[in-house]
């Protein structure tokens, strides 16, 4: 399993040692500072610690043997979430926080293999229509309710119920027919047509199992969640953050974690610190121990700080892309879309906008996604002559005094709509760089800043030429969420308003693995070839952390988990 995945994670630089585990081979901004130390380095660390102990005058805090119990970890987050119940939101922040509160049926290790968690083992029938899970015994929710097959079925049926208003979690279940609990330890998921991505969906916090007792009694689950995880959500306040405390009787754990049983940290506080300078300042001054979204301009400085480190995990899923509206305006013409795509020299622009801390995209999918096709990378790129030729062919032959192409008196103007609160300053820098680049080819790219309501209204009314989004998921089925006709706004995020990929995407959901690979290669080639989207960069989780914080593990969807984490004194 490990071989092919190494290449998919596109390790930068030489491999270190044969003993280096997979996690350290992932693209890493600080080679030589692996987060999860392989055994040999760990031992070296212990020796070093022991040496320091011998040298130091007061040796009372010296414990060379592994994790330290206790302490509160404070994490500064750049974005807020409006809903903490993972079943009724698609928010990444909710996923990050509730990963510590709810357990999943299965876990997915960073090498994309599935591990036991609430389910000890499972069977899938040959045509991927019946999934049978055998649950671990003795698991309880933090409110004392027993976790059995009925509880799991209750959760899944709740998500399927339209009254729950679940969107993303429901989409992860696909065309699920029934979920049954034949006995207290067995859950059976049945499909009428083959559905492959169920295990991956179940491994995400969005399909995490919550206490049925709590769910039955709760009037609203917007601000609360009760699960069987290693931490209990004590308090969630929108606009402020979340407070998690350790569950002392937690006696299980995901198969991909380094330990089982209770977590090491007493508590985790997630604080919402939207201003980049404030978040960074809180980290460098030692007020908090970790932040997400390390500001690109300060990336190198944080790396160089002897007390801090930056750990980057490239997001699998759909890269940060400009989605061109194929249903109206200039971009309805494939030649204009291809010209737009060819007019941008992406790598230098991404380097400028993110100070080299993120990689330019070469495909609609990130390299860490299953069935990512590296061949697509060579099929497109910066080609100003091609852009000019295609625009000529499409009839945009004249140019006005500002250098913008015109056709029958109309200027080649395209409007990029975006939600100001959701688009970071760095993305805006990148779009301005793109704006300047495509102007040379004769495009007048106009920025159209909106609030959340305005963005939803404009995209639903099909009143835009371009929008942007990215999705984090290691499973290529995410392409269905972004390019299937069923998700054309207002029903979803198919901002390109593409309908031509429906057949291939639907077929790929249930096909055997070999066939799926071929189908997804074909879909990726068509998205780039027909210029439905212009992928710009591979988003990543950029965690800036104090070196006191040890034992961070990463889930397959590029999110840190602090279950194994501990704070050195």
């Amino acid at each position: 399993m490990i071989g092919p995945h190494r290449s998919q994670l596109r390790a930068e630089g030489p491999r270190r040692t044969a003993m280096t585990n997979l996690r350290d081979d992932a693209p890493h901004p600080a080679p030589g500072r692996p987060l999860r130390r392989p055994a040999i380095l760990g031992r070296l660390g212990m020796l070093a610690a022991a040496a320091v102990c011998l040298l130091g005058a007061a040796a009372r805090d010296c414990r060379a043997d592994g994790p330290v119990q206790g302490g509160t970890l404070t994490v500064g987050l750049a974005s807020d979430t409006a809903i903490i119940d993972p079943s009724i939101t698609g928010s990444s922040i909710t996923a990050l926080i509730t990963r510590h509160v709810v357990d999943s049926l299965v876990g997915q290790a960073e090498d994309k293999s599935f591990t036991p968690w609430l389910a000890e083992r499972w069977e899938v029938n040959a045509d991927n229509t019946v999934y049978t899970f055998h649950l671990r015994r003795g698991v309880t929710f933090s409110d004392g309710t027993r976790l059995d097959a009925e509880a799991v079925a209750f959760n899944i049926n709740r998500i399927l119920d339209p009254k729950t208003t679940s969107s993303y979690a429901k989409s992860l279940l696909g065309p699920l027919d029934t979920v049954a609990a034949p006995d207290p330890d067995t859950v059976v998921f049945r499909y009428k047509q083959p559905f492959v991505p169920l295990l991956q969906g179940l491994s995400l916090p969005y399909l995490g199992i919550q206490s049925p007792t709590y769910l039955r009694d709760a009037r609203s689950t917007t601000n609360t969640v009760v699960g069987s995880g290693p931490f209990i959500l004590e308090r969630y306040v929108k606009g402020s953050g979340s407070q998690l405390v350790r569950r002392k009787d937690y006696a299980w754990g995901p198969g991909f974690a380094a330990h089982t049983g209770p977590a090491y940290l007493d508590a985790i506080a997630f604080r919402y610190l939207p201003e980049a300078a404030v978040r960074l300042g809180a980290l460098t001054s030692g007020q908090i121990q970790a932040i997400d979204e390390v500001p690109p301009a300060n990336f190198r400085a944080v790396q160089a700080d002897p007390r801090l480190r930056v750990v980057t995990r490239e997001n699998p899923g759909v890269n940060w892309s400009l989605f061109l509206n194929t249903s109206r305006g200039p971009f309805a013409d494939i030649r204009v879309r291809q010209a737009f795509q060819s007019a941008i020299d992406i790598p230098p622009l991404v380097k400028v906008a993110f100070f080299g801390s993120l990689k330019p995209a070469d495909n609609i999918l990130g390299p860490a996604t299953l069935h990512y096709d590296p061949a697509v990378a060579h099929s497109w790129g910066f080609d100003p002559q091609r852009a000019a030729r295609l625009l000529d062919e499409a009839g945009w032959t004249r140019t006005d005094p500002e250098g913008i192409r015109t056709k029958a008196g109309a200027r080649l103007a395209v409007r990029f709509v975006y939600d100001v609160a959701f688009s970071g300053a760095d993305n805006l820098t990148l779009v301005q760089a793109v704006q300047y680049a495509v102007k040379k080819a004769g495009f007048d790219l106009q920025l159209d800043p909106l609030d959340a309501g305005g963005f939803t209204a404009r995209t639903a009314a099909n009143d835009y030429d371009m929008a942007s989004i990215y999705y984090v998921r290691p499973e290529p089925d995410i392409l269905r969420t972004v390019f299937h006709a069923a998700y054309i706004p207002p029903n979803g995020a198919n901002f390109s308003r593409v309908t031509a990929l429906d057949a291939a995407l639907t077929q790929a959901v249930g096909a055997p693995d070999a066939v799926r690979g071929g189908l997804y290669r074909q879909v990726q080639a068509e998205i780039i070839g027909s210029a439905y989207a212009v992928p710009l960069y591979v988003p990543a989780f950029q965690l800036g952390a104090s070196k006191r914080l040890n034992g961070i593990s990463w889930t397959a969807n590029a999110k840190p988990s602090f279950y194994d984490a501990w704070l050195a004194p």
Binding site: A276, A277, P295, A297, N298, A301, P348, L349, K351, V352, A353, V420, A425, L428, T429, Q432, A433, Q435, Y436, A437, Q446, L447, D448, P449
Partner: protein, 288 residues
């Protein structure tokens, strides 16, 4: 009595010559204001660089011979952006002040001369508007009208009407009781003529001074709106937007925000000092 008069005489400002060329305190701020005027009319005189030209080889370059104010995160020349932003920022400031003055005169006149019931309502209305911070009113206008330079102008102008209206009203009430208005009434001049010929010109004279000071304030409010992302649309160069752009680079590239901020501060101070000077000048000519 004479002692008292002497004291009052001494306290009165501008006992010297009212001519501006004899007053360095007025000449000093005049220099930056003239520079601003030139930058507004012909930005090309100051810089040959385009404000939105991206140079990926000069990202965050510190101030130097090639780029006087350094470059920003896209390699755009900060000085060119400040110079080209001048016209927009000053136009918004000037336009907003005019809107505020025009609205203030109308509202102030009505609040002073309308029938008692309307008058009472208008005065309370002005009080209510004065109770709100201007920036909050401006935000409301932006939310209702949408973004863009024209809407920013309107938002800043509309939000500061109340202050001007209050001033005009108190002036009108004073003027109405003055001798020449009483004489005009006694001579039987029509009400319209009295208002247009005597009340408005005399009541709005102090407005000139207040508006000059208000101009600096309007530029600041407009910049504040852009700073919080509700003013102009990127990549348009505008002073507040420049400051907002630079705030994430304060520790790595302080020139992106500090140098434009200096320009904004100097401009607003210069305009305000000029306004105060004008006030003294007019007070002096009143006395002579």
């Amino acid at each position: 009595m004479t002692d008292m008069l002497a004291i009052i005489d001494r306290l009165r400002p501008d006992r010297g010559s009212p001519a501006p060329w004899h007053r360095p305190g007025l000449l000093v701020p005049l220099v930056p204001v003239l520079l601003l005027a030139v930058a507004t009319a012909a930005p090309g005189l100051f810089t040959g660089l385009a404000p939105d030209a991206i140079d990926t080889d000069a990202i965050l370059a510190p101030p130097g011979p090639a780029h006087g104010f350094g470059t920003d995160q896209l390699g755009r020349d900060v000085f060119a952006r400040v110079v080209h932003g001048t016209s927009l920022s000053l136009t918004i400031g000037l336009g907003a002040t005019l809107v505020a003055c025009a609205g203030g005169v109308l509202l102030g006149l009505a609040a002073a001369l309308a029938p008692p019931v309307v008058r009472a309502i208008l005065v309370r209305l002005i009080d209510v508007f004065l109770a709100f911070p201007e920036i909050l009113l401006a935000l409301l206008v932006i939310v209702a009208l949408g973004r863009g330079p024209a809407n920013t102008l309107l938002a800043v102008g509309l939000s500061s009407i109340a202050g001007y209206a209050r001033l005009v009203r108190s002036q009108v009430l004073q003027v109405v009781r003055s001798g020449y208005v009483e004489h005009a009434v006694a001579l039987g001049e029509p009400r319209r003529t009295i208002i247009l010929r005597h009340v408005i010109p005399n009541a709005t004279r102090p407005l000139v001074v207040v508006a000059t000071i208000g101009l600096g304030h309007a530029v600041l409010t407009a910049s504040a709106l852009s700073f919080i992302g509700l003013g102009v649309v990127p990549p348009v160069a505008e002073w507040g937007a420049l400051l907002a752009d630079g705030r994430n680079y304060l520790d790595t590239a302080p020139w992106i925000s500090v140098l434009p901020a200096t320009v904004v501060a100097v401009s607003v101070i210069a305009i305000t000092i000029l306004g105060r000077g004008l006030q003294d000048l007019l007070a002096g000519s009143d006395g002579s």
